[in-house]
Symmetry: C2
Subunit: 170 residues, 2 copies
């Protein structure tokens, strides 16, 4: 299946000069959604994944489905103030300034094998922050999987300590 | 499986006097996550569901998994400004004032059979706004499914035009 056909290009979103790769047209198609999730599940089914971790919000959509497919639990990473229990946080760079992502401090037990999932690899900032959170709980990041990789933004360099997999590369 | 055992009660979140029912402990457990998703999938597998719709962010986690299990597509409903293409919006009441939810105007084709999923039925405001969005695209809301229902908040009354299903009732 040519998954790229299902991605919709939106010029100037979220701001002028950015070509946004819209996955809602992909996940809205039952066959394309199933294909994307199945590719991840087949790739990791023998990796003994205990937990799938994804950052809000788009990462949740496929993250939960992949967790089910791998018979793993799911742990959400969210913006500050969204998780109800005690959290740990990790900062990442924005174009101007920084933001932070948070995870429940008790969400991952030491030694658990973790698959980090996100829809898009751009500069790699949010994925790196997510991996840091997993490692601070002493979870093991087995691999980081993306639907789309924007290769020109060199996210792989920021994530050079991790194994990376992406299904669609631009 | 006694799913209630996996829900964590957090007093005074998001503010004093609210007892928050935290599902992260449920979805973080592989067996409980699988059970919750399987209950939905078994219930709706003969309903010819074309699309699962869920509002951000927690609804995405199980919504995507249920869509995969039903061999349906997934359509996200999001806060204003988050979706990249042209949207339609529906308002819902907050304690003070209103907020709005948005869906891509072309996300659902007329006549499609839609299952609306959310983690929690409280006052029913966000679920009702979500159903309105589906119906404005001429999709058919087959049923609205929740993991948790807080019966004391009478969300069912606000959703009286729809079939409602919840797995855990407080």
């Amino acid at each position: 299946m040519d998954l790229k056909k299902y991605i919709r290009d939106i010029p100037d979103f979220p701001k002028k000069g950015i070509l946004f790769r819209d996955i809602t047209t992909l996940i809205g198609d039952k066959d394309a959604l199933r294909e994307v999730v199945d590719i991840f599940v087949k790739k990791y089914k023998d990796e003994k994944i205990d937990i799938v971790v994804a950052a809000e919000a788009r990462g949740f959509i496929i993250g939960g489905a992949i967790a089910c497919g791998l018979n793993a639990g799911f742990v959400p990473v969210r913006k500050k103030g969204k998780l109800p229990h005690k959290t740990i946080g990790a900062e990442y760079d924005l174009e101007y300034g920084t933001d932070s992502l948070h995870m429940h401090e008790d969400a991952i037990v030491e030694g658990r094998r973790v698959l980090v999932i996100d829809d898009l690899l751009a500069t790699g900032g949010t994925a790196k922050a997510t991996c840091e959170l997993v490692e601070r709980t002493k979870g093991e990041v087995v691999e980081v999987g993306f639907i789309i990789e924007l290769a020109g933004l060199k996210g792989r360099e920021k994530l050079k300590d991790y194994k990376i997999f992406s299904q669609i590369v631009y």
